[in-house]
């Protein structure tokens, strides 16, 4: 475990140094993404200015929701950037490079790339939480825990979907649609959705676990919400690891070992 952590930190450091080579692009992506999210949030300000509440949700709740979704999405794509590209890595035989090295394959693939804009998302998420003005130590602790668990759900879900590439070949478009659906649904009040749609958001597309559930957990502590989050995060992660390992047994390529620049 210690060895993996040291390895991860070394990868993140290398990614940061690589990004610093193009400092202006890095900074513009981080600030640009923060502005991008802020402009998007204007929709909710205008909406709640006119309608005050919808199914029990108000503007204050949306700050928490955006805080946790943006921070977890940002952390996920910054720390494990290849999670958005895993299907292509598998389909194009680029796993060969990682398989040839004495390091955990999945961890190595995922952390080999950092998406700079993710840092903008993460910072925006933290700012959104700050704007909600709930600064008691227990709420801050719950925000940190909520973001960590939501990040695990997000990354695990994408590993699961992108690993379909082992079976169906080009799964890039499918996984792009799945991640779009996950993020889009997570940014809306969960109470809008009823019946089967709600069931889907807690299972097939687990948007509730990167948005509404952690936001609810941050707002007010309950053992039930915490248990739901823990089961979703670690259950999905275990499933993702099993599926990736099963898929890896089927993996074959045309010997595409090459130098990774």
């Amino acid at each position: 475990m210690q060895r993996e952590l040291t390895f991860l930190i070394a990868l993140w450091k290398a990614n940061l140094l690589a990004a610093m080579e193009y400092r202006a692009a890095f900074i513009s992506q981080v600030i640009g993404m923060m502005l991008n999210n802020a402009v998007y949030f204007i929709f909710w300000i205008i909406f709640f200015e006119r309608f005050q509440q919808v199914r029990g949700w108000s503007l204050g709740d949306m700050f928490f929701l955006f805080g946790v979704v943006a921070a977890s999405f940002g952390a996920g794509v910054y720390l494990f950037g290849n999670v958005l590209d895993l299907a292509n890595v598998i389909a194009n035989g680029r796993l060969d490079y990682y398989l040839a090295l004495p390091r955990p394959v999945l961890l190595h693939v995922l952390a080999s790339r950092s998406i700079s804009s993710g840092l903008g998302d993460f910072t925006y998420g933290v700012l959104s939480f700050v704007i909600a003005r709930q600064f008691s130590p227990d709420i801050i602790a719950r925000f940190v825990l909520g973001v960590i668990l939501a990040t695990i759900v997000f990354v695990a879900f994408l590993i699961l979907v992108e690993s379909l590439a082992f079976w169906i070949g080009n799964a890039a478009l499918l996984s792009q649609q799945a991640s779009n659906a996950l993020v889009t649904f997570s940014l809306y009040p969960i109470t809008l959705f009823e019946g089967n749609a709600r069931l889907i958001l807690f299972t097939l597309i687990p948007a509730a676990f990167i948005g509404a559930v952690p936001a609810e957990f941050i707002r007010s502590f309950s053992w039930t919400t915490l248990a739901q989050l823990l089961i979703a995060a670690f259950g999905l992660l275990a499933l993702a690891l099993i599926v990736f390992r099963r898929g890896l047994r089927r993996y074959e390529s045309g010997s595409a070992i090459q130098v990774q620049m």
Partner: protein, 269 residues
């Protein structure tokens, strides 16, 4: 003079047609992309249904739930089908491939506009059919079908406006390393100030006055709003507004393009 103009139009029409044929080669890709349309329309239907119920009103700012959903269907169709020109132009500037297009017997910008229109047209058809079917099933037929041919003209001009904006964003690659941030912000301005997520009628009065005069409103709001309340006076105002902004943006675009090309330096080839 007239012959030259016809020949030029035929040239770009040919590029447009070739691009449509290219897109038609991947029907599964087109259908998969339309999933996003289903997703958004489902979310909007849930959100606005809950909102209208909570308000206990049949109409908000003059729009019924049916009007709002048909408005959003047209708005989403315009936005989800439109091509991502900024990225294409920025890449051709950064990797130097612009040099291969500049010496061809066509205008670099008009070439990209033709390709973009060709790329987006089939997506527009797919999205409109899928989104239209969904909304029809949920709230019934659109208020007035007479607006359809007019709205197609308005969408064509809206896309031209969008092409001009995104080309400007792409051309910033002449001076910056990365244009992604400008592209994100532009697309979010279209989402909010263009009225893609919420009809501008629901904005506070003072803000509505400002945003309806901006060019973003003419790329989404104006055509979608016309669709749910079509009348000739509104159409004339819409087209006039689009043409004015198009003329202003075309001038800026030409200026930026000329400046960019004069400072272009490419090694090798």
């Amino acid at each position: 003079m007239q012959n030259k103009l016809v020949a030029a139009c035929q040239k770009y029409l040919a590029i447009f047609k070739i691009q449509i044929i290219n897109s038609a080669a991947y029907p599964l890709d087109l259908a998969t992309r339309s999933i996003t349309m289903i997703l958004f329309m489902y979310i909007f239907a849930s959100l606005w249904d809950a909102t209208y119920r909570a308000m206990g009103q049949t109409a908000i700012a003059g729009l019924s739930l049916r009007d709002t959903l048909w408005y959003l269907m047209i708005a989403e169709t315009i936005v989800l089908s439109k091509p991502r020109l900024a990225h294409t132009i920025a890449e051709s500037v950064k990797d130097g491939s612009i040099a291969y297009l500049l010496n061809k017997p066509y205008n670099f910008l008009l070439y990209h506009f033709s390709v973009a229109f060709g790329d987006g047209t089939l997506r527009l058809v797919f999205n409109a059919i899928i989104g239209g079917a969904m909304v029809w099933l949920m709230v019934g037929p659109p208020p007035d079908m007479i607006g359809v041919p007019f709205v197609l003209v308005a969408i064509a001009f809206a896309w031209l406006l969008d092409c001009a904006f995104t080309a400007l964003v792409g051309l910033t690659a002449f001076i910056t390393e990365d244009v992604a941030a400008f592209d994100w912000i532009y697309s979010k301005l279209v989402l909010i100030l263009g009225g893609t997520l919420i009809p501008l009628d629901f904005f506070p009065a003072w803000l509505r006055e400002i945003v309806t005069a901006l060019p973003f409103a003419y790329t989404v709001y104006a055509p979608a709003r016309f669709f749910v309340a079509p009348d000739l006076a509104r159409f004339a105002m819409l087209i006039a507004g689009q043409l004015v902004w198009l003329a202003i943006l075309a001038l800026i675009l030409l200026f930026v393009f000329q400046r960019g090309v004069t400072r272009l330096t490419i090694n090798g080839g």
